[in-house]
């Protein structure tokens, strides 16, 4: 039997860690409730992380700039006067910054994970469209077989899910306005979703995975209609499809 020894400060550390963990979880839950729209969530988290990195950058830059100015060499032959660190100070200079960096990392990771879940959990009430990408076009197929090329027509206010694959090289379906992209490739099916909001608006689709010579010209658009307009359009296209089927 070995005797249990308690490390000094162990209990305080546990309290701090527990506090940190519950704060992280609370902020995750909070973030999860706030963000139903990945694009809005993206802007929110980007701003938060931007503040975080700006603060860290400015702190380091100010310290470095201060040292550079304060400790200029004033006479030739002058030497630095820093003394070595004691063992305790050396350890502290690892543990304390390490803890601070790690805490910041975990905080950002928790926020990022929460937003990631928003991006990957597609709402059940959605419009599903199949996308086949190829050199150099975006070919959309709606559930009833209606097809469009380089124009994705969607109703406002309804989540749109794209199930994607490619017939040749890898492409990436990027929607800058909706802050989302995902590669499409042969042999695998990938997906993404987004929430079009405003009827009458058009949004750019552009390829972001180098796919061949004409990569930079592989663009299309998302056209947002009102629910009624969308229904009319889809019915017309479906009818056309039916006529075609009858004719052949």
């Amino acid at each position: 039997m070995h005797k249990q020894r308690r490390l000094p400060g162990c209990r305080t550390g546990a309290v701090w860690l527990g506090g940190l963990a519950s704060w992280l979880m609370a902020s995750m839950v909070q973030a999860g409730e706030k963000l139903h729209d990945p694009a809005r969530g993206w802007d929110h988290l980007w701003n938060e992380v931007l503040v975080d990195i700006t603060v860290i950058g400015i702190v380091f830059a100010i310290i470095a700039a201060y040292f550079v100015i304060r400790y200029r060499r004033t006479s030739p032959g002058q030497q630095g006067s820093a003394t070595g660190l004691s063992a305790a100070a050396a350890v502290a200079w690892v543990v304390i910054p390490g803890f601070v960096f790690l805490a910041d990392d975990l905080y950002i990771a928790a926020q990022g994970w929460s937003l990631w879940n928003t991006y990957r959990d597609v709402p059940a009430d959605r419009l599903e469209v199949t996308l086949e990408s190829g050199m150099y076009s975006w070919d959309y197929t709606y559930a009833n077989g209606v097809r469009t090329q380089n124009e994705l027509i969607v109703p406002a206010g309804k989540p749109v899910m794209l199930k994607m694959h490619s017939r040749d090289t890898i492409h990436s379906h990027y929607l800058p306005d909706f802050r989302v992209k995902e590669d499409s490739m042969p042999g695998r099916v990938t997906y993404l979703w987004f929430l079009p909001k405003e009827a009458g608006k058009e949004h750019l689709v552009t390829c972001t995975e180098y796919c061949g010579v004409m990569h930079s010209y592989m663009a299309g658009k998302v056209i947002v209609k009102t629910e009624a307009e969308f229904k009319t359009w889809l019915d017309q296209e479906t009818a056309k499809l039916g006529n075609k089927a009858k004719m052949t």
Binding site: L45, A64, Q79, A82, V94, G112, T169, C207, S216, Y217
Partner: protein, 524 residues
């Protein structure tokens, strides 16, 4: 001095200088490619060439040559070769003839890369070579494969050589905890090269098998998987970023300690926490290059956490570096300007990497100009500034002569202004409108025009700065004034011999005194 002596040399210093000449030549060629791309992008629509394939070949050549022909060879070829035996008091590397083979292979690799511009079907697969494109393009993927294999092999045998050299050939008194930080960084870099280069070698070999021998490793129609390649490629190529980062931050440590005339702050934290931590974590973060590639969700989240944790070892290195300035006696010759420039550029580049570690944020940022701006700051520009600073720092050691301080500083400030004009604007436009990278034309983003023009002008400024720098070296090497053996008053061991050192480095095997330390400034 005859040319045959140089070609067949086994002297680590000459091998190093051959690496330097080759890598600077590669830098100039790859820089011209960047200039052509910036010219092309200065207006919407065809500008310099009406053929997108030509642009894609520039893009391929710029990336592949800058990384494989300039940065890695300059850092692990030139600096390692020139400095390591001198820093540890050895007369040469452990295997001098193998060392000569490695520099020959490097030249073969550079020649293969340069042949891109004369063959009728140049490779257009970018430096990443992703299938299926690389297996169906009419471009010559085999050139890509053989360039990577040749340079990779040169690097592997260099790795074996340097690990052996540092372990077995340290002079008496130069103990592990008295090694220069730079030596530790090179050790770390070569450990990673030995682990990861073979993986890259297998990946690029398999694409040529697929393309020319009819195998189906990456062909889903026949049971292959396109993502396998990306995993193999980035399993090497993310550590490759640290193969560049560690040596360059090592060079910066040497410069900062010498010009601040100060101890390295918390040496052991930098070595064991910083260098060791980076080597340890380097192989667990590659998925962050595949955040939008359709990888399993759990991997994308798991490696978000491991990627963010890189901030811990990197933070320790930065604290050590900035801490070395504390109570120093700082002077600002050209090498120090470059070193401080690296600290500034690295702060921007490192911190702008944090959003890219976050999977959800990368769903928007990936493959945009933001990414390109970020990695140019953190790797390309900071690395190049460290290389320039290091060449200036060891210039009197190599040549026995002094460069022009005025032109050195002028070159620094011109380049510094140029790189920020290019890459700050690049990140900005990447976030604001999501402008995608690797675009020959950007008709769908007319609002990017002004930023593109600022970047193109910035590129011209960089070209002027780099030209001043390279000319300054050439002129200094030919007609610079005598520098003396230790013009910086450094304590580091390489400055204890004459400049330039003779074959064998010291007349008789040296040893380090008990009180010696590469950073023993201040009190005696």
């Amino acid at each position: 001095m005859n040319i045959k002596e140089w070609i067949f040399t086994t002297d680590h210093k000459r091998v190093g200088i051959l690496y330097l000449i080759g890598s600077i030549a590669a830098f100039v060629v790859a820089g011209i490619m960047a200039g052509l791309m910036r010219a092309e992008l200065s207006a919407i629509g065809p500008t310099v060439t009406a053929n997108p394939t030509t642009y894609n070949v520039w893009l391929y050549a710029h990336g592949a040559i800058m990384i494989l022909g300039f940065q890695i060879p300059a850092l692990t070829g030139f600096f390692a070769n020139y400095c390591i035996p001198l820093m540890i008091g050895a007369k040469d590397v452990a295997f001098p003839r193998v060392n000569a083979l490695s520099v020959w292979l490097f030249y073969v690799g550079v020649i293969l890369a340069l042949l891109t511009f004369v063959i009728p079907d140049p490779p257009d697969v970018l430096w990443t070579g992703y299938p299926p494109y690389s297996t169906i393009t009419t471009g010559n993927t085999a050139f890509y494969t053989f360039t990577v294999l040749t340079l990779g092999f040169a690097s592997i045998i260099g790795g074996v050589n340097f690990l052996t050299t540092v372990v077995y050939m340290r002079a008496p008194g130069i103990t592990w905890n008295k090694l220069n930080i730079f030596v530790w960084c090179i050790l770390g870099a070569f450990v990673m090269q030995l682990i990861f280069v073979p993986v890259l070698g297998s990946a690029v070999t398999l694409i040529s098998f697929d393309k020319y021998l009819g195998t189906h490793f990456f062909d889903p129609a026949n049971g292959g998987d396109v993502l396998t390649y990306q995993n193999l490629f980035w399993f090497y190529s993310h550590p490759a970023v640290y193969v560049i980062f560690l040596p360059y931050i090592g060079v910066v440590f040497e410069i900062v300690a010498t010009f601040a005339k100060n101890h390295v702050f918390n040496y052991k934290a930098a070595v064991y926490g910083g260098v060791g931590g980076i080597v340890l974590i380097s192989g667990e973060v590659w998925i962050h290059h595949l955040y939008v590639s359709g990888m399993p969700d759990w991997l994308r989240i798991g490696q978000m956490v491991s990627t963010l944790m890189i901030s811990v070892p990197v933070g320790l290195l930065v604290i050590s570096l900035v801490g070395t300035l504390y109570k120093g006696a700082i002077s600002f010759e050209t090498p120090m300007l470059y070193a401080l420039g690296v600290v500034f550029l690295f702060l921007i580049g490192g911190l702008t990497g944090i959003p890219l570690a976050v999977t959800a944020l990368t769903l928007n940022l990936s493959e945009t100009y933001y990414v390109v701006g970020h990695f140019h700051y953190v790797m390309a520009v900071a690395g190049t500034f460290a290389i320039f600073g290091g060449v200036y720092y060891w210039f009197p050691k190599m040549t026995g002569k002094m460069y022009s301080e005025f032109w050195g500083k002028t070159g620094f400030w011109v380049t510094f202004v140029g790189v920020n004009a290019v890459f700050w604007v690049m990140m900005d436009i990447g976030v604001k409108i999501g402008l995608p990278r690797r675009y020959y034309d950007y008709a769908q983003f007319p609002e990017a025009l002004q930023s593109q023009q600022i970047m193109s002008m910035g590129a011209a400024v960089i070209a002027v700065g780099a030209a001043i720098t390279i000319l300054n070296w050439i002129i200094g090497a030919i007609q610079g004034p005598k520098a003396g053996n230790n013009p910086w008053g450094s304590q580091s061991f390489e400055w204890t011999t004459v400049s330039p050192p003779p074959h064998g480095n010291w007349p008789s095997p040296p040893s380090a005194a008990e009180s010696w330390n590469p950073y023993a400034y201040g009190k005696r």
